[in-house]
């Protein structure tokens, strides 16, 4: 399954994040975080890739703007964005 249209979920409040999805043939994930290190940004990217795989998504361009969200928040926002991005 691939993302077929642009979608997003989340907010830029503290402890939350914005997830933006765009159609793409393969998987590409870019995360930036206002509160933590580049190490953590890589961790977010890995988490997102894992969740995409679980959801059976093989094509998506994912951008994450993190404001200190917990992992469960990241998963929930991503899930919502995926549901909005597939026909």
């Amino acid at each position: 399954m691939k993302i077929s249209k642009k979608s997003s979920a989340g907010s830029l409040e503290s402890s939350d994040l914005m997830v933006y999805l765009e159609p793409m043939d393969t998987i590409k994930v870019e995360a930036v975080s206002s509160v933590s290190t580049s190490q953590h940004q890589k961790e977010i990217e890995a988490l997102v890739k894992k969740e995409l795989k679980k959801a059976g998504i093989s094509g998506a361009y994912v951008k994450v703007q993190d404001n200190g969200a917990l992992n469960l928040t990241i998963k929930a926002r991503l899930k919502t964005a995926i549901s909005r991005g597939i026909e």
């Binding site: 503290s14 402890s15 509160v35 933590s36 290190t37 953590h40 404001n67 200190g68 969200a69 917990l70 992992n71």
Partner: protein, 518 residues
């Protein structure tokens, strides 16, 4: 040398002088008699009958004040984010060409970021304050000042003035109302801010007192918070400040559910602590979970038919409402936290304005907080020794204020810290706080949404809490629990330069603000 908490300190700093290391919350108080200190004299002034005090030109008054290069000027921050006076005075002082001044406000807020320019120009050489915020805090934490900033608590500032550690040459007092002789109060006029508690100390001990007002009233102006015999000049201005920006909404009750969970737990602890009952005395902060604790404590008081003695501190409208429910007999007010408090202070004889000396000075014959039963305070960071940081943020920048934190926690019988266990995935609970404002030996309980930790030295409290259904765990275990879901905080790289000294309320140095390397 090292102080009692292991902080490395030099013996002497140029521009500051001899450094006294912190030796414990009451070590110097106990030994003060031996030191044999006396309060220093204030320059005698004499006044002929009929002397004219009111001027329109601030520049003229600064000339008459006798201010010289290298002098010390003081301000007070009751108008908080709405203060215009400090920056207006600094503009004139800069135009007059003064250099190397010591700026000594009771605190600095977001209204005072422009000070950075005056430091760069050499107008200001030293800053002594309680708080630092915004660009100014970053500027200082990056090491841009030659002489370290000195951070004092509100009680510590009163002590420093009274003991002569800081000699004020000219005190500028924002007076929401004044008469032609200089009887001042903060409860009348378009810029009314309520209590003038911090300025009262400056008025008593400065060599020259300049009141600036936008509301000159017929003689005599009452109530008299600062009397005419302490005021040398009165300057008229268009607008002293914007009182709508005193509170900036902070005194409305939080809607954050985590804050409410913490507050409810804290109230339950206070109820079971052994200090709850008729005649109890109480202080709480104005923001977030701290103010919410006041709500839950008040509800329990009402349900149990308990009436407290006094509430103290910065007084907010919310505390006034609790008083109106008949739950406290008196309110002591050193600083009014929102515009809504002003009419209570003016019209209510149980609402009493007090000076910072009366409030929290450790070096007098008894500050009001010495009778405080319970204080509820916030924390940016708290460590496993219960030391608290309320000044330096997770990036290492000074972005907060000492305030009455260390004063009240030392004096109160029960000190409760309320804080979420993490904010934006940055843990509040750490191995060692970045900068100690309040020593852990004066802190009794930490309440977070994920558990409550009691300082192990308070065995009596642990006994009282047994079997009460309170989730009390060891602070190290609580930290481990929180660490599992949070991130390792960004490691801030610090340089060797000391950018600031944290002076404990008794004048000893408890910690430093270190230089952030970017």
């Amino acid at each position: 040398m090292k102080n009692k908490l292991g902080v490395k300190l030099p013996d002497h700093i140029d521009g500051i002088g001899k450094i006294l290391p912190y030796k414990g919350p009451f070590a110097r108080v106990r030994g003060l008699k031996k030191e044999g200190l006396t309060t220093t004299g204030v320059k005698m002034r004499a006044s002929l009958p009929g002397k004219k005090k009111v001027f329109k030109d601030l520049k003229k008054v600064i000339e008459l004040s006798g201010l010289k290069d290298g002098g010390t000027i003081s301000f007070h921050h009751h108008l908080r984010n709405g203060d215009f006076l400090l920056m207006n005075v600094m503009k004139v002082i800069d135009e007059m060409g003064f250099k190397d001044l010591t700026l000594f406000p009771s605190s600095l807020t977001s209204a005072h970021q422009g000070i950075v320019d005056y430091v760069r120009k050499g107008v200001v050489k030293k800053i002594y304050t309680s708080g630092l915020r915004g660009e100014l805090g970053k500027f200082i934490s990056k090491g841009n000042m030659e002489i370290p900033v000195v951070i004092r608590s509100h009680g510590g500032r009163a002590r420093a003035i009274k003991s002569g550690d800081v000699k004020i040459d000219v005190a500028f007092i924002g007076a929401p109302s004044s008469d032609r002789e200089g009887n001042l109060n903060g409860v009348r006029g378009p810029s009314a801010c309520g209590s003038l508690g911090y300025a009262m100390v400056d008025a008593e001990y400065a060599d020259c007192v300049v009141a600036v007002t936008d509301h000159l009233v017929d003689y005599p102006n009452t109530p008299i918070s600062i009397p005419q015999y302490q005021v040398d000049y009165i300057v008229l201005t268009d607008k002293l400040g914007n009182p709508d920006k005193i509170g900036s909404g902070s005194t409305r009750l939080t809607t954050n559910p985590v804050d409410h969970i913490i507050a409810e737990k804290a109230a339950k602890l206070i109820f079971n602590s052994g200090y709850f009952g008729n005649g109890m005395t109480f202080q709480t902060g104005a923001g977030g979970a701290s103010l919410a604790v006041a709500k839950y404590v008040a509800d329990i008081m009402e349900a149990k038919g308990v009436v407290g003695s006094y509430a103290i501190g910065g007084i907010s409208s919310y505390i006034v409402d609790i008083y109106k429910r008949g739950l406290f007999k008196k309110m002591f007010d050193v600083q009014s936290f929102d515009k809504g408090v002003v009419s209570s202070l003016l019209n209510n004889e149980d609402h009493l304005e007090i000076s910072a000396d009366f409030y929290a000075n450790p070096f007098n014959s008894g500050a009001i907080i010495n009778n405080l039963d319970v204080v509820v305070l916030a924390a940016y960071e708290i460590d496993t020794d219960f030391n608290v940081n309320v000044l330096v943020d997770s990036h290492g920048y000074a972005q907060g204020a000492s305030g009455g934190h260390s004063d009240t926690s030392a004096a109160a019988k029960l000190t409760v810290i309320v804080a979420p266990s993490f904010r934006a995935r940055i843990p509040t609970l750490v191995d060692r706080v970045n900068t100690i404002i309040t020593p852990g030996e004066t802190v009794d309980i930490l309440v977070t949404e994920r558990g409550i930790a009691v300082n192990p030295k308070r065995k009596d409290l642990l006994e009282n809490f047994k079997g009460k259904g309170l989730n009390i765990i060891d602070i190290c275990d609580l930290k481990k629990k929180v660490d599992k879901i949070t991130l390792k905080p960004r490691m801030v790289e610090f340089g060797d330069k000391i950018c600031g000294l944290i002076e404990y309320r008794d004048g000893t140095i408890i910690d430093t603000i270190d230089q952030v390397i970017e």
